[in-house]
Symmetry: C2
Subunit: 374 residues, 2 copies
């Protein structure tokens, strides 16, 4: 079936972005294939049976510093402000998280100015030059007590790996702020698509040149399809190669959606539970979607090692295994025009803006491919 | 591409039903193709940007007398009671519709028992033996005054054809009741899928054997696909044959969705406007979906002659044209295993339960086909 110019496996952010560009810019016919029965990948949102709009695969807090990405997506959605506030429940209280001066004041029951706070933390921290792992990284930054209250338990639940055995960069993702900014992140653009992610992606691919094939395993149809220009693969890289070199481990999540007959259940969208409970966090996405309703849904998230892949496991042995798969990718690419992009195909913990940036870069490469051919 | 056993053009009620049966009962691989970017055909419902669940292509009041159909669909959805009440706005007042004894009492400002009512209507009606058209049919049943108040204007707006020029059966669809039953219909099962039609159809086709290809024009891919067993075509019959014999006319609808900041705007799901306004009816589907929300959506429906096909136009010349297409269908079927089913393919004003019945019958034929081949 040589009907399509471009075949894309995976209708997530990467697949939708490349499909949009290829159909609009190049007038290519695109086949977009997905295993699931919906588009949007893990950004997918939908109305729960209770009528409340939920994020089906965990909260997506869209944020970026990249104006190009923001402008590009703005063609397909209006935005609402990104109401992203996270608290952490420890020692029976809710604290601002990531740690800021207010967290310190509440935790140590004192009043602090910015200057005080820096001196205060200087006394808490345990100096470790060149922290070798996440435990050392955090202790070096804020001391053992805050580490044990906010980081240790959460990391253990999230990864089932002790922070001692995790690269410093894992806990290094989370800032510590010497101010009273209680937002979750400090990116320039913190906005949420007004009518949800799925509608935004629908608007992107709403083009008669794009055929969307859902509920379909790409593996099963790929031998029957030969795209004229190229293939984009956004699925799991080890699956593509039939796990020839072994299985890459992923963390997965279970969601327990609970309905409450009240407009809001939590003071903010996300509460982390480093200790005391089996779930890692509870998410009430209504704080972000801005939906008005009598009732609400809270998702209780449980981290687990099997199921749909969410997060690559940040251990050196896994990165090494992925690098060996990269050799297979290279040899596959020497035979055909195939591009491996996105979280699953590159075993990287990308945020949504980052994968869209990767998708746009990939589209640039693919479009040049045709110029070469012509 | 001979990968599929069955290819179905159209993911509406017929397509989903046959796909479900074929995958579950025969273990066939099914490709379900639709031009639109969603399944469910005109039964499709979705959440409006306001958060209110709406029926995107006009209200669907599911009702049937057929227990088999009811039981079959019950495997894929829970039900809520079908809260189907229609009123008609005429002479500045809202009346029960279809006409029942309460309508007569209010219209003629009197009190009536069942016996009274029959005598009363006997005096109103103008006896016409063998009514030749819809006007004669209604006047023969209830007299000229009720005809002019409730039927004439609505029919003109709905069909742009005078009731004099419409077969008696067109207005004959609407009962007149000699009781005080104010429900819209008197079918045995009057129920609505608890989480909407789209979720029900999603549950039907949630099978890895079924690939769903959206946003795809079947015409453009059909030459590349050769199903092992059969093709089911639920699109417009004249389009299939490239309008070779001429275009079959359809009535279409425009919807103007208005949001109101109150739980309900109307006393019931549907109000007919035979006179005074350009729209034919207003539909507040929340009365049927049972959704709880602060706000509501009312769809103002305008009838028109071009756009998406909704209702075949009940004139003899169109039925004759369709019959000539049936000859083409027959010759097409002598060459390949193709089945024409559903409203669009058979130019019939089917209700949802009726097309599902047709779909189940078609599946029986197709499944026997394989027995013959084996």
């Amino acid at each position: 079936m040589d009907f399509w110019d471009l075949v894309i496996c995976g209708a997530g952010p990467v697949g939708c972005t490349i499909a949009e560009r290829a159909s609009r810019e190049m007038k290519w016919r695109v086949l977009l294939v997905d295993k699931r029965n919906h588009i949007g990948g893990n950004c997918h949102d939908s109305y729960h049976d209770s009528g409340v709009l939920i994020h089906n695969y965990g909260p997506h807090y869209f944020r970026t510093n990249n104006k190009t990405i923001f402008d590009y997506l703005s063609k397909f959605t209006e935005w609402i402000p990104g109401n992203y506030f996270v608290k952490s429940y420890t020692r029976g209280e809710l604290f601002d998280f990531p740690i800021n001066i207010k967290t310190l004041e509440q935790f140590y029951n004192c009043d602090l100015t910015v200057k005080d706070a820096e001196n205060f933390v200087e006394k808490l921290r345990v100096c470790i030059s060149n922290p070798a792992n996440s435990e050392e990284f955090v202790i070096n930054k804020v001391g053992r007590e805050l580490y044990e209250a906010f980081y240790l338990g959460y990391t253990l639940k999230q990864w089932e790996i002790h922070p001692k055995d995790l690269d410093a960069s894992v806990c290094g993702r989370i800032p510590v702020r010497f101010n009273k900014d209680c937002r979750y992140s400090d990116y320039k653009y913190q906005v949420s698509p007004k009518h949800g992610f799925t509608k935004m992606f629908q608007n992107m691919i709403n083009n008669p040149l794009i055929s969307v094939m859902l509920n379909t395993d790409y593996k099963e149809i790929k031998s029957s399809i030969s795209p004229r220009i190229a293939t984009v693969y956004t699925g799991a890289v080890d699956e593509y190669f039939d796990y020839k070199l072994g299985k890459l481990p992923w963390r997965s999540l279970d969601f327990d959606y609970q309905e409450f007959q009240q407009p809001y259940k939590q003071p903010c969208v996300q509460i982390n539970y480093p200790n005391d409970f089996d779930y890692t966090r509870t998410v009430e996405i209504k704080h972000v979607t801005g939906q008005k309703s009598h009732n609400t849904i809270v998702a209780y998230e449980y981290s687990k090692s099997c199921g749909d892949p969410y997060y690559p496991v940040p251990e050196q042995k896994n990165l090494s295994l992925y690098q060996r798969y990269e050799d297979l990718i290279a040899s596959e690419q020497s035979e055909k025009n195939i591009f491996f992009v996105g979280r699953l195909a590159t075993y990287r913990y990308y945020n949504t803006d980052q994968v869209i940036e990767e998708a746009l870069k990939t589209f640039d490469k693919i479009s040049k491919l045709q110029e070469t051919q012509n």
